[in-house]
Symmetry: C2
Subunit: 190 residues, 2 copies
DNA sequence: CGACACATGTAACACGTTACATGATTTG
DNA sequence: CAAATCATGTAACGTGTTACATGTGTCG
């Protein structure tokens, strides 16, 4: 429901048309999650169907601006007033993957952890690099969210590795997995 | 794609039928993400369509067990060998919400942050409570993932509040949208 | 028998992504 | 003019959720 409410929030600033909405959405989040333009139009149609927005008759060029309605404002206020519960969130694919890897025969769990750690560290570096650019506050906060999440993921991966050693002390054969790290990252035993 | 691959991983242990798959999936993750039984059957159909599993003719009771195929094993191995990139993940609704709240007129961002913090702290306590129960290692790791994420979210919310004070010194100010007077930054930390 | 858990499936719907088709406007 | 960009829309598909329909097996 992020797009639906996101567009509503943008329309709270004033009437906008589809292309504008995509541009402003991506501006706010620094294009962290690129928004397909088709999705904007289908979402606008659903919002109109639900009475949360209505189109304005101005057809200067080809633009069809929309305006938020009273019901839309109420819905938006409810969104801002309601915290996001853990149960609302999508499944954490990484957690599922590791949990299942533990009981799947033939899987080198340590290698899975190590591969993910490399990728996550790389992502973290990229976010840190991006933060040095000039960004507005909204995007900076989005970047910080990504950074905090990546750091938490790294901590969790360390934690998993430690727990793993106690559970399966020695994986029988070091099967090769895709790991592009040169050498340096192996001694992070928390 | 978590369910699709999750079911494949469970089938790697041996042939299973739909009901079993749901039970084992929820066992592994401690019912953190309850899995609708209908979803299991539709996913099994898609896996069969794609040649990753095939049904076994045994129809003892009403059970229709499935078996993983060679292509299924390959797909599963690829899943385990490939790290999960940040771009694969779903949009972070909380980050979007706060980023947009900053530029939406009439929104008390500090209140949004505070409401979320309360909810997240409550979730964190619940996870900590659950961890005291007796759980298998996979579920314990899933719980730890939730805990680490919640802690990161709390840290981020604190961070947002701090950044907010410098950006919009007075939240209760009702009208001004374009007030850029760099007034005295009162450090009102909660 | 009647209730309940086990077990399989289908239908309708929402959301998201990708790709495609179609014009209008700007600009080199 | 031609190409790129702006702008709107549709179609097909994958995934996920909810609700409903149906049958079997067990147990008080």
């Amino acid at each position: 429901m992020s797009i639906r409410h996101g567009l509503l929030a943008l329309l709270e600033r004033g009437p906008r048309y589809g292309y504008q909405l995509r541009a402003e959405f991506e501006d706010s989040t620094g294009s962290t999650w690129p928004l397909n333009i088709g999705q904007v139009y289908t979402t606008l149609n659903r919002l109109e169907r639900d009475g949360l927005v209505h189109p304005l008759p101005e057809h200067d060029g080809g633009q069809r601006p929309y305006e938020i309605t009273g019901a839309g404002r109420a819905e938006l206020a409810l969104w801002f007033a309601t915290p996001i519960a853990r149960t609302d969130r999508p499944r954490d694919e990484l957690a599922i993957k590791l949990a299942l890897a533990l009981t799947t025969p033939g899987v080198n769990v340590a290698a899975v952890v190590q591969t993910q750690r490399t990728a996550t560290m790389r992502a973290l570096q990229e976010y840190t690099r991006l933060k040095r650019g000039d960004a507005e506050l909204p995007w900076r906060l989005v970047l910080d969210a990504m950074i905090f999440q990546s750091e938490a993921e790294l901590r969790w991966l360390d934690h998993c590795e430690t727990a793993l050693v106690r559970f399966r002390p020695a994986p029988p054969a070091p099967l090769p997995t895709r790991d592009e790290t040169p050498s340096t990252t192996r001694e992070t035993q928390a």
